[in-house]
Amino acid sequence: MSWLLALILLPLAGALAVAGLRSNDRLATLTALGVSIANLALVVPLWIAYDPGGERIQQTWSMDWIPAFGVHVSFGTDGIALLMIAVIALLVPIVIGALSSTDRLPEGRTAGGFLSLILLQEALTIAVFAATDVFLFYVLFEIMLIPMYFLIGYYGGARRQYAAVKFFLYSFLGGLIMLASAIGAYSIASDELGEGTFDWATLVAVVSDAPTTTQIWLFLGFFLAFAIKAPLVPFHTWLPDAAGQAPIAVTVLLVGVLDKVGTFGFLRYSLPMFPEASQELAPLVLVLAVVGVIYGSILAAGQQDMKRFVAYVSIAHFGFIALGIFAFTTQAMVGSATYMLNHSIATGMLILVVGIVATRGGSTRISDYGGMARVTPILGAMLLIAGLSTLSLPGTNSFISEFLVLLGSFGTRPVYTIIATVGMVLAAMYVLWLYQRIMTGPVRGDALVGAGGGPGTAVAPEVGAKKAIRDLSTKEIAVLAPLVVLVLGLGFYPKPVLDTVTPSVEATLSAVQER
């Protein structure tokens, strides 16, 4: 049995076990934490077994599923998938460990049920990155929505129903259109080969020779699904609602990893399967990407709500990632692939810290805070680290990725790159402004100072008594520590990550450029 299969089955089994322990929250939490840490440990042998110079897809495992349609249950990994699998395996134990600090679940909801769904989500997300059968990928792409739908709709904030349904319908519609394209690719393969198959490698070989017009139609189907998932402007409107209403732990996984299925899909499916269409339609994608960078940045600066702020920041970053992918140079694409990892780490940490701030203060409105660093200096430092990584300060992990994207794209797409660079400047503005509003200056705001009136009432600091707000405990520091280590570590020594993805990226790129 391959390590990959173990990585999928362990959280699945863990989800069942935790669901069985629902009645005992403490035991359920410990079990979930144990399972997720064990799963993280399983990544180590997988990473060691992965040989960057070897086959395109490694650690393969396959069995028949629906022979009539040539559908297999088959898994395998390349460098890019490996990074994504590693990052979700890393984030799950962290969000479980931080759960008591980041979220207060709605009344009547147990942590056991919540954690069971989180583990299920982990298993499905790993499987979606590992799938090497297009049909299986579609199935997992849709199935993955169901635990997320319940995580948002059952455990989220006040407008959770709306957010959950919106999230589901957007992704479901995108998935269905992708299904049409997948069937189209299947029927091309069955015309060419005599028998249909959904095997990724075979489909890539066959479909990439299809006429350009056919490719364009099929590309658009996949593109819609991935652009909704990633999300690119104008398909993004579900994300601020979903991220704003979901519990913090869920937002971390949603923005940090699940959305990467979209950009991962571009790299794994769109480019190799439809190389000519990718070339033809690259300008369209680049326009959406650059618009996303600027639009996301401007809206992030204007947000009143911290969670929606993070969502718009991510929309801007997804624009960068898409820019790097569709610039078609090795540098830029390596930048994008590593950005997928670094964005998960940086944004994941940012969301966690924001969640801790919001849970301490009992509000997600930025204007309810002020001067918090005086009360909670360590928390302030954490927000600063996460923020600096988000704005890609040199020395943090995101810098090298963003730099590679811009450097690589400038050669082939100078205009788009110059416009996107404005996004970097805006990022510095909105991140530092957020930090300034929440952490610096005199202690103020309803969340930190006992309020005399309702929301919107101006309260003089000396009127209310200071609420008891604790700084980070040792446990909370321990939970955030791995992320801090990664932010700084990968900032100074990104080589292992770059080495892992480069061969996969080069293989993807050569598939496009041979045309």
């Binding site: 629906i66 579609y138 319940f150 059952y154 129903q161 269905l176 029927s187």
Partner: protein
């Protein structure tokens, strides 16, 4: 049909060859239905229920055994028997198996007396609604046990309908399946006025549809000089006969068939009848009538009108789009769960039509699979609906379903699963059904229609989700309904539906093989 007899004037009329082994399942069902009627006449009232239930279940099982025995060594090409009026071929056998299995589930629901004391059917159909006697019958434990033979008659009609190889046999089968259904719709124990309204509405509209169907047969006879499907096919292949007769006849025939399949825009009866009929009968209609109607539609299109598909396909495109649009969009506005499932069935009819129009082997096997999958899912869904009750009977208003997951987590989980199957989420039979139907249509050159169908799938998913949202994310109403503990019969029926829905979703290979076992018998 008259020609052979006219030709033999003067000579002795030969009796047609009958392959009894092939049509044994139909004979068993119709024979047992007659026995059931006699039992009604001769048994004392208190003995009727157990005997009728036993007889009906036994009949269905026996018919299934007879079918299984015949399938083992059936000729691959299929046969025609009774002078070519009945074709027993791979699709017919598949549909018979589907109908029998679905009828078994439906009969289990019909026979249940634990959810509603005495069963879902009126004690004496002759009592006027709203009278003192009517209030008394609500709490009595008797029921009109004629329901069981009526069900068998309808089932026999459906089985004949899917195997009818000429239009007159098809018409007779249509009447045999319809008349018992009209009656059974009006037999609800509670809310008898809307039940009777449903029956009258169904009867009147059904009578119109039958008239259309018959008129269509007349036109086609005028065109081809025969009512046999094979003769019509032969006549359409390059003759100088009047196309007007052909297409007028075809159109009228389609109206009749599409009406039975509740395909929009011929769907107007569906929500009212589904809502008014006793829920077990709704389940029977929704599952089995759909199978029978689309089985017959497939046969007519594949056997008789294959060569003219370019002429009629455009019209059916429009019909399919209307059906999906009506089902998906009006379904959004419904507040009654039974009406909602009715609109869902209209949308599904549109999806089915997409597969039916692909006149290829994939289209045939895909549509057959879809029918099997849809039948079981919808059967189980109505089984679940019959369990959610308040003081006045079933609580079908959607607001009553709020927060159901707190009161009855298992029921909410089962219903969610069924709704996801209806929405076509992977790992349910609904997804595999959509997949095979749409891939058949796509490879037969109907890509735009498939994209439209996918968009409407997403729209329809919204109203299924709305129920999930209500059950899980809303707070329960203070005086909400109770969830009855189902008896053995209903539990068995729901379990059957859920297990098949899951099985066909995860391991569809074997059922796909059955559905793709062979085409229609073309020889007459």
């Amino acid at each position: 049909m008259l020609n052979p007899f006219l030709a033999q004037q003067g000579g002795a009329i030969e009796t047609p060859q009958i392959d009894y082994a092939a049509i044994l399942p139909i004979l068993i069902v119709l024979g047992a239905a007659c026995v059931g009627v006699l039992l009604e006449a001769f048994l004392p009232k208190h003995q009727r229920w157990p005997v009728q239930v036993g007889l009906t279940l036994l009949t269905i099982v026996a018919a299934g055994v007879a079918l299984g025995a015949y399938v083992g060594d059936a000729p691959e090409q299929g046969i025609t028997t009774l002078s070519g009026t009945v074709a027993v071929d791979a699709p017919a056998l598949f549909l018979w198996g589907t109908l029998l299995a679905l009828a078994l589930g439906a009969v289990l629901l019909i026979a249940d007396r634990s959810v509603e004391p005495g069963g879902a059917f009126v004690a004496q159909a002759g009592i006027s609604p709203g009278t003192v006697q009517d209030r008394a019958q609500v709490s009595s434990t008797g029921m009109q046990t004629e329901v069981f033979p009526l069900t068998l008659f309808a089932l026999g009609g459906m089985m004949t309908f899917t195997a009818a190889n000429d239009l007159l046999t098809m018409f007779i089968a249509l009447e045999v399946l319809s008349l018992p259904l009209y009656l059974m719709c009006g037999l609800a124990r509670r809310r008898r006025l809307i039940s009777q309204e449903a029956a009258v509405k169904y009867f009147l509209l059904g009578a119109f549809a039958s008239a259309f169907f018959l008129y269509g047969i007349a036109m086609l006879y005028g065109y081809a000089g025969s009512v046999r499907l094979a003769d019509i096919a032969a006549a359409t292949a390059g003759t100088d006969r009047s196309d007007t007769l052909l297409f007028a006849g075809f159109g009228l025939l389609m109206v009749g068939l599409l009406f039975k399949g509740s395909v929009g825009p011929f769907h107007t009866w569906t929500p009212d009848v589904y809502q008014g009929a006793p829920t077990p009968i709704t389940a029977f209609m929704a599952a089995c009538t759909k199978v029978a109607a689309f089985g017959a539609l497939l046969r007519v299109l594949f056997v008789a009108f294959e060569s003219t598909s370019w002429e009629w396909r455009g019209v059916l495109w429009a019909v399919a789009i209307i059906s999906m649009a009506v089902g998906a969009i009006l379904g959004l506005t419904q507040t009654d769960v039974k009406r909602m499932i009715a609109y869902s069935s209209i949308a599904h009819a549109g999806f089915l039509l997409v597969g039916t129009m692909a006149i290829t082997d994939e289209g045939l096997s895909g549509t057959l699979f879809y029918l099997l999958a849809y039948g079981f899912t919808t059967l189980a869904a109505f089984g679940v609906i019959s369990l959610v009750r308040d003081a006045s009977g079933e609580a079908t208003h959607l607001s009553a379903w709020a927060g159901l997951s707190k009161r009855s987590p298992l029921l909410a989980a089962v219903f969610t699963f069924l709704l996801l199957a209806l929405a076509g989420i992977p790992l349910t039979s609904g997804f595999v059904g959509k997949f095979v139907v749409f891939s058949a249509a796509l490879s037969d050159g109907m890509a735009p229609l498939v994209v439209i169908a996918l968009v409407f799938s997403a729209v329809a998913a919204f109203f299924y989700l709305r129920v999930v949202v209500l059950m899980y994310f809303s707070e329960p109403a203070p005086e909400g309904p109770t969830v009855s503990v189902p008896g053995a019969f209903t539990t068995a029926a729901i379990t059957l539906g859920v297990v098949v829905t899951l099985l066909l979703g995860v391991l569809p290979a074997f059922a796909l093989d059955w559905a793709g076992a062979g085409g229609f018998a073309l020889s007459s």
